[in-house]
Amino acid sequence: MVVTAKTKDGKEVGSIEKNYHPQGSTCRDEKMAYGAQNKSSYIRDTSLQPFETKAESLEFILPVDDKGAPTIRTVDVTVELIYEIQNPDNKFTITKVTREVTLDR
């Protein structure tokens, strides 16, 4: 999942990535491994589980001027759920949500 906040003119304020997948290892060292021939067991599992809600609360800190006032008050936030197959270059979007978020009331 990639969550991005951008100003109205497209300047990126911040980007946060969360990865959801089981992580295997040879169990002979501390490194994650790919390939069934290398993995002997999982050592961590952040994948989406049945009947469980994967909840995140992510924050983007907005820049302030020398008086402490925010210089950006409105951003466009995009939350994109992406599926990668075998490597980060072979991917596609599952779903994408965009919201305008502002400090103004």
Binding site: M1, V3, A5, V13, Y20, H21, P22, G24, G35, A36, Q37, N38, K39, S40, S41, Y42, D45, S47, L48, Q49, P50, F51, E52, T53, K54, A55, E56, S57, L58, E59, F60, I61, L62, V64, G68, P70, R73, T74, V75, V77, V79, L81, Y83, I85, Q86, N90, F92, T93, I94, T95, V97, R99, V101, T102, L103, D104
Partner: protein, 300 residues
């Protein structure tokens, strides 16, 4: 006379041994032989929709990976199971056969492994040869149709195991018998994994969908079988033998995932106060993801 009487029993025993050997099914010594033993092109005539669905599935290309990738290459060239020369390959140096080519376990000689190793180690690789090795109709509907072999015996030659008993319009497989496991998750669990395969000299772990199904989905209250979700009847009225997803079809896979994965997003813009007169302006994004699958996502 005495010599003849002494020799006769030996001759009879030898003949009996030859008779047994001649009747015993012969294992395949080449990729072509193994492919021919399990060739299911004959099923296409009467089951064209199912065959067309299967042709697009990963079962039709268990060694081709995604986008035609030769997934066995690192196994034979770089893993703990690697060989220096194709002639050194055996069925044991391809632990992947357990699930990716289960018919080889009972019906292939080591020479099949050697021929496969040669195809993988060639430059260029012989993809056409590797592609001949498939999980065909006869693998699921015969070779893997029985798990309770102590009670039900091995699959019988000439029999197709399905959901019915009776005659089958086929010269090679004229009989139908019911497989008690065909519509149950355990059928898929034979190959779709529960955890590390400790029976090998170097434990390997591939997909563990069935483990996730048993240990997460069922305890959570889930009650559907793999087949209910992945082999629902298509508009042609047959169980879908594509058994989605087909990862080479990104559009269809994305649609399947979008249907089963649910994302909610809530946002807030405010200024956080840590201490007097020191505000930190923040954009908060709260996300929640749930899904309807009977196992972890991703897995395989």
């Amino acid at each position: 006379m005495r010599i003849l009487r002494f020799m006769l029993p030996l001759v009879l025993v030898a003949s009996a041994s030859f008779a047994v050997a001649a009747d015993a099914p012969k294992k395949a010594t080449s990729i072509d032989e193994l492919a021919k033993m399990f060739d299911s092109t004959g099923c296409k005539e009467c089951h064209p929709e199912i065959y067309a669905q299967w042709e697009k599935s990963h079962h039709a290309r268990p060694f081709m990976g995604v986008a035609g990738g030769m997934m066995l290459t690192p196994v034979v060239t770089a893993s703990a199971f690697k060989v220096d020369k194709p002639e050194q390959a055996t069925l044991k140096t391809f632990p992947c056969f357990k699930c990716h080519l289960p018919q080889a376990l009972r019906w292939a000689e080591d020479s099949v492994a050697q021929e496969l190793a040669a195809a993988l180690m060639a430059n260029p690789q012989d993809k056409a040869k590797v592609a001949k090795l498939q999980i065909t109709c006869l693998v699921c509907h015969s070779e893997r149709a029985i798990v309770h072999r102590l009670k039900d015996g091995n699959p019988e030659p000439g029999v197709i195991y399905g959901s019915k008993e009776g005659a089958h319009d086929s010269t090679t497989h004229p009989k139908l018998k019911k497989s008690v496991i065909l519509k149950q998750a355990i059928f898929c669990g034979q190959c779709h994994g529960t955890g590390p395969n400790f029976e090998f000299e170097y434990p390997i772990q591939c997909a563990v969908l069935y483990g996730s199904y048993q240990n997460s989905y069922l305890p959570g209250g889930g009650q559907k079988s793999c087949q209910e979700c992945h082999m629902a009847k298509t508009k042609e009225g047959v169980p879908d033998h594509l058994i989605a997803p087909n990862f080479d079809d990104k559009e269809a896979t994305a649609a399947l995932l979008a249907k089963s994965i649910h994302l909610t997003v809530d946002t807030l813009g405010y200024q956080w106060l840590r201490k007097a007169n020191t505000y930190t302006p923040k954009i908060v994004v709260n996300t929640k993801i749930t899904h309807d699958a009977g196992h972890r996502i991703p897995d395989g």
